[in-house]
């Protein structure tokens, strides 16, 4: 026993070992070098190919697989075969899931019809109203003065529109076109659809952003025709696009804890609240707002939740006297009920008007 029977075993010659080692280092240098050249998808292919080459060298020479019995070679290769099965069959699921889309006039119903007469004509009242809405919905990206330099603008590509410049408006600067942009958004850019805003508010916004530059453009009959408006009529029967994104619909749903009736009843809860204002306000604030806006509405908290899926961070607004949404009870109601699309503020459409009043009063009192 204890014979020298291991002598048949292949011994790696020092020279081969050094050659392979050198080769591996050269290949490492090559991968790093190639990674700095942009070859599109081929970067990945080359990186993996080089890695496989390196791995094969290690396995064949350092691990002696080249001189190993075919049994052991098969055993080792089998593992990669089964790994391939694992990833390919799982990929048949993950990369081929059906998209679910939803039809219908959900949420937008009842809020889309304009009650104004000839809303495409700018009036000082409309511009003033538009400014209010702008302060809530648009400043995050377009900035307070409409220069396209809001706090969230830095992250956006393409950058948000600067309303003080005349050139480069994707749909042009005619009122109907701006209105169209507000309704449909500008995919694939970050400009979201604001179809969830009432049509009147969108008209108001239109006139406000156009008022930021003195040059006035007027709609031609062809423009009206394109958006389906008859300029000779007094009011607008807007044709509603019946489709909204399932993400939006579902995230609205997920936030509507009680599922209060929506649409026509958006502003008026059927159930009037009996409790006194500040008490319910404090309770509601603690329940819904505290987590993101912090104690006494001081804001500035990093929030990372929108719906359930994406992870992104936004610092919340303070809810004090300077906050545009605290200007008046009405403005406040709008912001709370609808939420602010594009921001992380979800809508709380299930709050009753007395609850909103309580909440508003509570915040006012806190900041005095």
């Amino acid at each position: 026993m204890g014979s020298t029977s291991q002598k048949h075993h292949h011994i790696l010659p020092t020279k081969t070992a050094l050659t392979i080692g050198a080769l591996l280092l050269v290949l490492t240098a090559i991968t790093v070098w190639i990674a700095h050249i942009d070859l599109g998808p081929f970067n990945f292919v080359i990186a993996t190919a080089v890695a496989t080459l390196k791995a094969s060298l290690v396995a064949l020479y350092f691990m002696n697989l080249k001189y190993e019995s075919s049994e052991n070679r098969m055993i080792f290769i089998t593992s990669f075969l089964f790994l391939a099965i694992f990833i390919v069959l799982t990929a048949t699921d993950l990369f081929f899931r059906q998209e679910v889309s939803v039809h219908g006039t959900f949420i937008a119903e009842g809020s889309s019809q304009s009650k104004l007469k000839k809303p495409w004509v700018s009036t000082p009242e409309l511009v003033a109203h538009g400014k209010e809405i702008y302060a809530i919905q648009c400043v995050a990206c377009h900035g307070l003065e409409g220069k396209g330099n809001g706090p969230a603008a830095a992250a956006l590509n393409p950058a948000p529109r600067n309303f003080e410049a005349v050139d480069g408006w994707k749909n042009g600067r005619k009122p109907t076109m701006v209105f169209k942009t507000l309704k449909e958004g500008l995919p694939p850019s970050s400009m979201a659809s604001y179809a969830t805003l009432p049509a009147d508010d969108r008209w108001a916004l239109t006139h406000y952003v156009l008022s930021l530059h003195p040059q006035v453009e007027v709609d031609s009959p062809a423009d009206f025709a394109r958006v389906g408006i008859d300029p000779n009529q007094e009011s607008v029967q807007e044709k509603e696009d019946p489709k909204i994104s399932i993400e939006l619909a579902m995230s609205q749903l997920a936030h509507a804890e009680s599922g209060m009736e929506r649409g026509a009843h958006l502003y008026h809860s059927r159930f009037e609240q009996v409790q006194e204002g500040p008490f319910i306000g404090k309770y509601l604030y603690q329940k819904h707002c505290l987590e993101c806006h912090g104690d006494h509405g001081k804001g500035g908290i990093k929030v990372s939740v929108l719906g359930v899926y994406p992870v992104a961070f936004v610092a919340t607004h303070p809810l004090n006297q300077q906050s545009p949404s605290m200007n008046s009870q009405e403005v406040f109601n709008q912001a709370v009920i609808r939420g602010i699309p594009g921001n992380l503020m979800p809508g709380y459409g299930n709050l009753s008007s007395s609850e909103l009043k309580g909440l508003y009063q509570y915040l006012k009192a806190e900041n005095e």
Binding site: E71, I85, F86, L89, T90, F96, Y309
Partner: protein
């Protein structure tokens, strides 16, 4: 008894080779380790069985609140599932019976790595300890499948159970590794691949699955632990992860695990049927290769557990198609076993009875499996009692019947004594009838739409649930009775011959019980193990 002539009764064998508790706890002898596995597994089987009976008692009446509250019930079925799967059916045949028999069948003195073998036993027990420890804390209520995100959110001690299963998984890996090397390197002279007993083929296929699939379970459980500890979010939708991906990870192991459970049982049946039919096995190569076919297909069908999970329609199509092919090698085996009996000389000893039981129950389990592989049919039946009934027919009807068949078959070899044949027959009928009464109604319940994991159910399901509960009592009685007559047999059964069944595999060529080193002389194999000649129809055990 020419084989036995060399062995004088009372001679040195593995049971009396050395004495004292330490000679067992520190043993490197595969036979003793096999027995330690066996008794541990039986202990866990008792625990799992008690939970099963508690579940059935709770379901005796509709509407809940019969025995325990919903939370306790949820823990019961979690424990029943986790204990039975991880601590009973997976190790039962390979680690217990396989450890004992495989090296002897190969004509080897031990498994390739005896120290590793002992280590894997202790790893198994450590894993079990963690899982059982959780019982005394807040338990676990996730079901044995640990689906996310519930398993991330629940405030029960899931972490301990996960950790236990993770550790027990390593034991399974090491056993598989040990067996593969043993089969490759330690076969007796003359024991070529085509002379290998079918039980060895089955264990070989099983070991391959253990080695290839269990590491994925390990990483899955690690990731799930990390979800709970570090909130890594890979499986957590709140953090951007995908809960369905967890199901892929889980079933990539757990579907092949089903074949870890069933393949060795099939191996045992392949051994028993030719011996008790006194005839060569029908289609040796087909049975051997079909074990490999099943092992391979095991890895490409896991998605059939997820037809309604929200996975893509393409994946459903592919997995349903592939799943259909499981039935082919399985069918080959069943038909070959039936073919083996044709023109044989059939003896009705307990092992053969259990083999019949296996064929009946497994055929039902297999056929209902086709229902669940069919896309549209699965949509209605999945997550109902139909699935519960199906996998109990396969796991209990398959693995447990196989285990009992093997225990009866090798009982004389393990302990050198016989059990009472009459008692064994009574036990068999109690268990088989009890089993069918328990689980057949569940097929109907499932088809009618009763979902699984329900603590309370609607009144229209009462009648069938009652029958099922009564049947479970019958099974319980059957198992207690079986334990009793096994105990009697071990203590005071008649002395067994070296080869009471007149079988031809190598374990019967040594004394009962075998000596410490299995064989006094290394055996030399000259023929395949199923050489039953037309006149060789008698069986010593039945001549007394």
């Amino acid at each position: 008894m020419s084989n036995n002539s060399a062995v004088v009764q009372g001679e040195d064998h593995y049971l009396n080779h050395s004495r004292g508790l330490m000679s067992w706890l520190g043993t490197l002898d595969h036979k003793r380790i096999g027995l330690m596995y066996l008794f541990s597994v039986l202990l866990f089987f008792l625990m799992g069985g008690v939970f099963a009976l508690l579940i059935r008692l709770e379901l005796f009446k509709w509407g809940g609140h019969n025995l325990v509250d919903a939370n306790t019930y949820n823990k019961f079925f979690t424990y029943h599932g986790a204990i039975m799967v991880f601590l009973v059916v997976i190790p039962a045949i390979p680690a217990a019976l396989g450890n004992f028999i495989l090296p002897i069948m190969l004509g080897a003195k031990d498994v390739a790595f005896p120290r590793l073998n002992l280590a894997s036993y202790y790893i198994f027990m450590t894993g079990a300890l963690f899982a059982v420890l959780a019982l005394f804390l807040r338990g676990a209520d996730t079901g044995w499948t640990f689906y996310t995100p519930y398993s991330i959110r629940t405030n029960t001690t899931v972490l301990l159970v996960l950790f236990g299963a993770f550790i027990a998984g390593f034991s399974s890996i090491l056993t598989g590794l040990n067996f593969i090397v043993t089969i490759h390197k330690l076969r007796a002279p003359g024991l070529t691949w085509m002379r290998l007993p079918l039980f060895c083929w089955a264990l070989y296929a099983t070991s391959i699955i253990q080695v290839l699939a269990t590491p994925v379970l390990a990483i899955t459980l690690v990731l799930l632990c990390m979800e709970r500890i570090l909130q890594i979010g890979i499986f957590d939708p709140k953090l951007g992860g995908d809960p369905i991906l967890f199901q892929h990870f889980f079933w990539f192991y757990s579907h092949p695990a089903v074949y870890i459970m069933i393949l060795p049982a099939m191996g045992i049946i392949s051994e028993i049927i030719p011996v008790f039919s006194r005839k060569p096995i029908f289609g040796y190569k087909a049975i051997a290769y079909s074990s490999f076919g099943i092992a391979l297909i095991a890895f490409i069908v896991w998605g059939h557990h997820m037809f309604v999970s929200g996975q893509s329609e393409l994946a459903n199509f592919v997995f349903s198609l592939l799943t259909m092919f499981v039935a082919v090698p399985t069918g080959v085996k069943v038909f070959s076993w039936v073919g083996t009996m044709y023109r044989g000389s059939i003896h009705f000893n307990a092992p053969m009875l259990y083999a019949f039981g296996f064929l009946e129950l497994f055929t039902m389990g297999g056929l209902t499996g086709v229902f669940l592989a069919t896309l549209a049919i699965d949509v209605h039946l999945t997550n109902t009692y139909f699935v519960v009934a199906h996998f109990h027919y396969v796991m209990v009807g398959g693995t447990l019947m196989g285990l009992l068949a093997g225990l009866h078959y090798w009982f004389p070899k393990m302990f050198g004594r016989m059990y009472s044949e009459t008692a064994a027959k009574i036990g068999f009928w109690l268990i088989v009838i009890g089993f069918n009464v328990t689980f057949f109604p569940q097929f109907i319940l499932g088809a009618q739409g009763m979902p699984r994991r329900y603590w309370s159910y609607l009144p229209e399901f009462t009648f069938l649930n009652r029958i099922s509960t009564l049947g479970s009592g019958l099974i319980g009685v059957g198992f207690i009775y079986t334990a009793y007559y096994f105990y009697r047999g071990m203590r005071s059964g008649a002395k067994a011959d070296a080869n009471p069944w007149n079988a031809q595999t190598l374990e019967w060529k040594t004394s009962s019980p075998p000596p410490h080193e299995n064989f006094h002389e290394t055996p030399v194999v000259t023929q395949w193990p199923y050489e039953y000649l037309p006149e060789d129809t008698s069986m010593p055990a039945n001549l007394r």
